[in-house]
């Protein structure tokens, strides 16, 4: 058998990609048949996703595998390579998309813009594009698949293309995606150092001067940042995510943002070799600003999908903070700590892929059941949609970073990384980095606040509208998808050591050390990233103790307290009618945060006058990036075009005069 098992992983991944393409084309054959597409093609696609995750996990610990696909231009084939990093992200893609695809099988209905078969094609092109981006081993293949991914997701975002607002969101997304793609292309141009050979192997072999290396890093941060939603290129995210159908939002937020993270890690740790310390500082600053911005705006949103989109911005920010920390450590050759920060970042990628997909799918169910996206009209849905409610609870706990969920583990690892910055040789960094740590803690706390708002307003309390009482729970396939992602969130939280052992080969190949390999990671029960004396965490013990306390409390309350309960009409405090409108609203719950962070928002408030018979309260919150950057660029462009347009007078004499003046000026210049 010899080399056969080793070759299997990359071949397997390629086969899955081909299978996805085949499923997409099959969707084209069953263009208007929602039943075939939903009940057959999407579940099959989920099986392919599972196979992808399996192949990727199989190939992860082994040596890098390469392949050359004979497609592309003559003499310019696609080079593919499966190493630990790409295998990890492929596994992430497989695990998240398995749940999303099953869910999508039950989600898409007839008559929502694009016919289901075409949607199926776009969806699978999107999946295949993302998988190939992670496999690509030369700039050509990377850019082609990157664009396939961007275009497919553009068509997915504009599924309901009959609505002008959605077309606008799609256009914005396409625009930012292409600005980013240009930056990435330039980055590869710098990386190949004038050799004309665009394979990643050649880029690894080049050693760039510090100036050009920094240029490449800056372009990569810009290009991948546009895709990941890093400040100030995040504007497309809160527009595109609410516009897209929920499974697509889940896929974009959960997986596509990670392709950008993958690209950033690939360029800054792999292709560029050892990063410079100040790149890490740039990444820390940008990441923290993004995270803070994201969470503060998430707190102010009243549209549930928009809230999740801002929360995605926040999580990407945290991931970039982790990468920045890893860069700082790697630059000073503190390999074990760099491995810790990098592992925390990658772990958070995986967690975010699962819990954010889960939450987006949950909002999709709520949207289908109630036709309502605004938090102000929801409430009390846990009673009517128990499946969605309880699975969303798991996702919310992870997003809030509560133990024993998976979100806690990665945030805890990240903060552990921050605790060891005292060993840095640069005194300024020693002083500054703890400030970043404080910022990360603030962001984490605010994220919990946002998630309490999200869950409390949608699922708890009493329904704010009559029609909510008729909300139906998720269907069979949808339940399967939600359950899969929930299980992922729970298991990743309960067995962190196993996950870190999977991540180990990546950090080993990128920064030269693995966490588990350093020996004191702990056993399967106890996670101790640096040493058991300093900090350790045992999620299972935590879970058991918490569960015991909860059970004991319930028993005690039921048995002893309720035994003495006397039932009577409640004292109504002078309000005889208690309606659902008296509950705390999303607006009300977010008000303190809006008050505290007022300088960051651009708010327009309409307060009703005291004599108004039908008072209405409206608040509009605008993204400051719009007025600070984008509208100015637009205004400048318009001014320049208008100035150029003034040349066009419509008079032949004037046009002739232009030629004449040009001629005379040129003659004059040549004479001089």
């Amino acid at each position: 058998m010899g080399p056969l098992p080793e070759l299997l992983a990359i071949d397997g991944v390629t086969v899955v990609v081909v299978a996805w393409l085949g499923l997409g084309l099959a969707g084209l054959a069953a263009l208007h048949d929602t039943r075939v597409v939903g009940r057959v093609l999407f579940p099959l696609s989920a099986l392919a996703s599972l196979a992808l995750a399996g192949f990727a996990l199989m190939g992860l610990p082994g040596a890098p595998q390469v392949a050359v696909l004979a497609i592309g231009l003559p003499d310019l084939p696609f080079h593919l390579r499966l190493d630990a990093l790409s295998a990890f992200f492929l596994a992430l893609l497989g695990l998240a998309s398995a749940g999303i695809s099953v869910f999508a099988g039950g989600y898409f209905r007839q008559g929502e813009g694009t016919p289901p078969g075409l949607l199926c094609l776009h969806y699978h092109l999107f999946l295949a594009g993302m998988a190939m981006v992670m496999l690509a081993d030369d700039a050509y293949a990377f850019m082609v698949t990157w664009e396939v991914m961007a275009l497919a997701s553009f068509f997915l975002v504009t599924t309901n293309h009959r609505i002008a607002e959605i077309r606008r969101a799609g256009f914005l997304y396409l625009l930012v995606a292409h600005v980013g793609a240009i930056a990435i292309l330039l980055c590869f141009g710098v990386l190949q150092a004038g050799t004309g050979d665009y394979t990643f192997a050649n880029m690894r072999a080049q050693s760039l001067s510090p100036f050009w290396a920094s240029c490449a890093f800056g372009l990569a941060l810009l290009g991948f940042g546009a895709k990941a939603g890093i400040l100030p290129l995040h504007v497309w995210l809160p527009e595109a995510h609410p516009a897209a159908p929920s499974p697509v939002s889940a896929l974009m937020s959960g997986v596509m943002l990670k392709t950008a993270v993958y690209g950033l890690v690939r360029v800054s740790f792999d292709l560029l070799g050892t990063p410079a310390w100040w790149w890490g500082v740039v990444a820390l600053v940008v990441g923290l600003a993004t995270a803070f911005f994201g969470v503060v705006f998430a707190a102010a949103q009243v549209d549930m999908k928009r809230l999740l989109a801002y929360s995605s911005i926040e999580n990407v920010g945290l991931i970039v903070v982790g990468l920045g920390l890893a860069m700082v450590f790697a630059a000073y050759r503190m390999d074990a700590l760099a491995a810790l920060a990098l592992a925390a970042s990658l772990y958070h990628c995986l967690n975010h892929a699962l819990f954010k997909s889960l939450l987006f799918l949950g909002t999709g169910c709520v949207l289908h059941a109630t036709q309502e996206r605004s938090l102000g009209r929801l409430g009390g849905l846990l009673r009517f949609m128990p499946w969605v409610g309880w699975t969303a609870l798991a996702g919310v706990m992870a997003a809030a970073g509560l133990p024993p969920s998976n979100g806690f583990v990665s945030e805890w690892l990240l903060l552990q990384g921050f605790l060891f910055t005292g060993g840095l040789p640069n005194p300024y960094l020693r002083m500054l980095v703890p400030v970043f740590a404080a910022g990360v803690v603030l962001v984490a706390a605010l994220a919990a606040y946002v998630m309490v708002k999200f869950y409390g307003v949608i699922f708890l309390g009493r329904p704010r509208e009559e029609k909510l009482a008729h909300a139906h729970d998720a269907g069979g396939l949808e339940r399967l998808g939600l359950a899969w992602l929930t299980a992922g969130c729970v298991l990743l939280g309960l067995f962190p050591v196993a996950v870190i052992e999977v991540i180990d080969p990546i950090t080993f190949s990128l920064v030269g050390r693995g966490l588990a390999q350093s020996g004191h990671i702990g056993d399967w029960l106890l996670l101790a990233p640096v040493s058991a004396e300093r900090a350790s965490y045992s999620p299972l013990t935590f879970l058991v103790v918490t569960a015991l306390i909860v059970v004991a409390t319930i028993v005690l309350v039921r048995r002893f307290y309720h035994g003495r309960v006397r039932r009577a009409a409640p004292w109504d405090c002078g309000f005889p009618a208690q309606t659902a409108r008296m509950q705390d609203t999303a607006e009300g719950f977010g008000q303190p945060i809006r008050q505290i962070f007022e300088p960051f928002y651009r708010m327009r408030r309409e307060l009703p006058s005291p004599f108004d018979a039908a008072p209405r309260y409206r608040v509009e919150i605008e993204d400051p990036a719009w007025s600070a950057i984008y509208l100015r660029i637009a205004a400048a462009t318009e001014a320049v075009s208008r100035a150029v347009g003034r040349l066009q007078r419509g008079r032949i004499s004037i046009y002739l005069l232009y030629s004449f003046v040009t001629l005379v000026a040129l003659l004059f210049l040549t004479q001089a």
Binding site: Q648, G650, R651, S653, S659, F660, L663, Q671
Partner: protein, 219 residues
Amino acid sequence: MSPFTTQVIHLFAAVLLLIAFAMLAQRRIVALINLFALQGLALVGSTATVAWATGQRHLYWSAGITFALKVVLLPWLLHRLIRRLNVKWDVETLINIPTMMLVGIVLVVFAFNLALPISEFSQSIARGALGIALACVLMSFLMMITRSKAVPQVIGFLAMENGLFFAATSATYGMPMVVELGIALDVLVGMIILGVFMFQIREQFDSLDIHHLEKLKED
């Protein structure tokens, strides 16, 4: 090369320049066409003189083509055109004529200055003529700019080609025959196309005033 031939060529050059000024000042279209034909004649004369003085056979052919085209065919076409378009009388210029003459003088000074370093390198018999040729080109251009009707603009365009041709013959004993034939054909075709355009313009706007084309501008 006798100084006499040089003198003759310079004379023709002077006539050319004089006619260029006259065209700049002329308001009436019929007179403009006649001036254009006259300019062509001067050009034929100078070309033939250069051919005789240098013994370049192909310049005779050039002179012949020029005569047929610019003295006979094009003026005849133009005359027919204005008869059928019924636009014999003209025409206000956009800038008044004295100002235009002054601008023309400035252009001549500029052109001579410009041609000075080039003609020092030239071995040709009529190097002083280069400045005149350039001045003719620029003044024809100026005429195109300052006329508001279509026909004078076409005449300006044709006169510009005259200046170029004169520059070619006087500075370098003419261009290769193929190029000359090509240019001649271009001028002819250009003339025909512009004629068609003029009919179209008049049908659209009931006038040949270029002013009406301003409506085509995109706002």
